[in-house]
Symmetry: C2
Subunit: 230 residues, 2 copies
Amino acid sequence: MYTLYHHSFCPHSRFIRLVLGEYGLDLTLVDERPWDRREAFLALNPAGTTPVLLTDGFPPIPGAGIIAEYIDETHGPEMGDRRLLPVAMAERIEVRRLMAWFNEKFFEEASGPLVTERIYKRFMSEEVGGGAPAMDVIRAATANVRYHLAYIGWLARTRNFLAGDRLTYADLVAAAHLSAIDYLGDVPWSEDDAAKAWYARVKSRPSFRPLLSEWLAGVPASRTYVDLDF
Amino acid sequence: MYTLYHHSFCPHSRFIRLVLGEYGLDLTLVDERPWDRREAFLALNPAGTTPVLLTDGFPPIPGAGIIAEYIDETHGPEMGDRRLLPVAMAERIEVRRLMAWFNEKFFEEASGPLVTERIYKRFMSEEVGGGAPAMDVIRAATANVRYHLAYIGWLARTRNFLAGDRLTYADLVAAAHLSAIDYLGDVPWSEDDAAKAWYARVKSRPSFRPLLSEWLAGVPASRTYVDLDF
């Protein structure tokens, strides 16, 4: 039994929800607003970031990358062909490379600033940086989405899934980050058919459904957010 | 046989050199200046960052965290008690938490800006951001070092090594990041005796010697950089 401290539009949290969904693991969600810096939350994760996974008998597990390694080590072996971090070393390297690409690079350049400016800042008080979105930050991040989308399209044209023949962490992490900003209408899908077709496949998986049912009061979802045939 | 594309003051590269040194693995170093964005280097790692580890039969392994996982999976088991990512799950979680703490948080808040402003910018052309260091960035990063040093001191007072009883990746990653900025004199050791005593122990390991022999023309090392009894 797992408990996940998350924010519904935190891309890293969305990735972990997809992973647990794919493995059929039960999950209780606890809504956390990391910018509140609650003392009890900082005790779970001194870095103050979501997600944090709790499970009996272990210390709190902080951060998408560390949770993904934990889930692989505890549940991966029993999953056989459905293991999301493949056993072969060359594939592990490529899947981990793409995990870092999205959790670090895409987050820093695109999903992080877009979610912060357009969602988090609505709920933050002025003292912790809330207020109107910075349009220059949004413009820069939106431009970055385009080159990342082209990279995803290149991978999707070269391979069946992003890291190779099968669904892996790489697909889930990319789709998680994209889904958070797709809600905002910030993914120019028409620019890359291969990327769009790949995302449509991942988005139609049952593990994705809970994410698509997350709506934010006062922030309408984009036209394509829920549509599986966008 | 391993080849590491690195920069001598890249904190992430230093961490990997310490790891390979502790395990007694042979290493050829290739100096890379990531800001040059050499095409051949981008082919090894599209993210364009150091370090990248090359070894026969596998794709290039990019990034300190991914290299550390690779080394653990290929060499860890034969190391027994000297394994730097311990086998027990609770310890793996804590070691990985501290790896992320230093490779991501400490790097973003302290070692990254300090090394960039005070070292890399000397060698970068103006078009890619070279020039005089931004003093406000240096001031903010220097202030951040102090709270990180207090956290290291708290860990060192609570435990024998940063993540527990034995030397792990956590000690090597923390010491690697600190060593890069200690060269610049940016670590106020006198503020925390426990942190200083822990660093003196890690610094005196044979794996550390190659780092301490790295000198930079035109940038003198701080008084305490090489001194094992600083």
